[in-house]
Symmetry: none
DNA sequence: TTCTTATTTAACGTTATGGTTATTTAACTT
DNA sequence: AAGTTAAATAACCATAACGTTAAATAAGAA
């Protein structure tokens, strides 16, 4: 079993699988129900479900001939925790941008008299 | 963009690439420096960097014959935002949902007694 | 120019991924 | 027992991913 987080990210790196998770966020669902919205054969969906199951992102029960799938969010939490280690980088960059823009504004004010008033629009 | 998040998750689904990002979290770094800790050829690292670059997770400059790599966290933020949609599922798990599921299981057990006890032979 | 260092690209092989159709398994229905 | 429905597996194919070594490119140093 390749690293849990590797399996999680790999599972999430497919639009179909993310869509399946989004569907399961609305509630448990059978394979046929899950497959319905996709222009894709049942076996293809079945295999996507297997990937999700191996990654621990869903669990499957048995109810007569149906195999209800259920979202399991624990691996998502792990992934979120991993990403959180980098949070400062995207928050920092905004801070720096903000600071940079502030210094620009100060400069502008200082320079205002000298300038042609061309301005400097954010974004 | 949907393609963007796919590229991001795919890029993160590799331990080497995650390690590279961790390394870059400590600061800008050249390809050789990045490659050093890995038992892997330079071209292999170069390709990993290309994947990271395509996913927008790093940027590369030019400084003489070196190509300093720098972490770019914006796609990580996107990924974190995507995951955040599921936060309630891992926070909810010990509250209402779990309790509800437990009562369901109790019901099932209770109902199981009504069966003819035929067992369930699997071939 | 020639040499050295840093990095990328080319060419190649192996394995993984994602899809298909056809078949099989499993459980319910008649 | 025979038929229906739900889902998984088998067999197959095309392409992408990940690694290798060897060669090419780019810039700096001698």
């Amino acid at each position: 079993m390749d690293d849990q987080i590797t399996a999680t990210f790999a599972a999430l790196a497919d639009p179909t699988r993310r869509a399946i998770l989004a569907r399961l966020a609305l509630g448990e669902s059978s394979v046929t129900e899950i497959a319905a919205p996709f222009e894709m054969s049942m076996p293809a969906i079945s295999r996507h479900l297997k990937v999700l199951e191996k990654a621990g992102l869903i669990s499957r029960g048995r109810e007569a001939q149906w195999r209800p799938c259920k979202l399991k969010a624990e691996p998502l939490k792990q992934a979120a925790d991993w990403l959180d280690e980098y949070r400062r980088f995207w928050e920092e960059s905004f801070d720096r941008l903000d600071e940079y823009l502030k210094t620009l504004q100060i400069k502008e004010k200082r320079d205002a008299g000298k300038n042609n008033g061309n301005g400097n629009k954010r974004r």
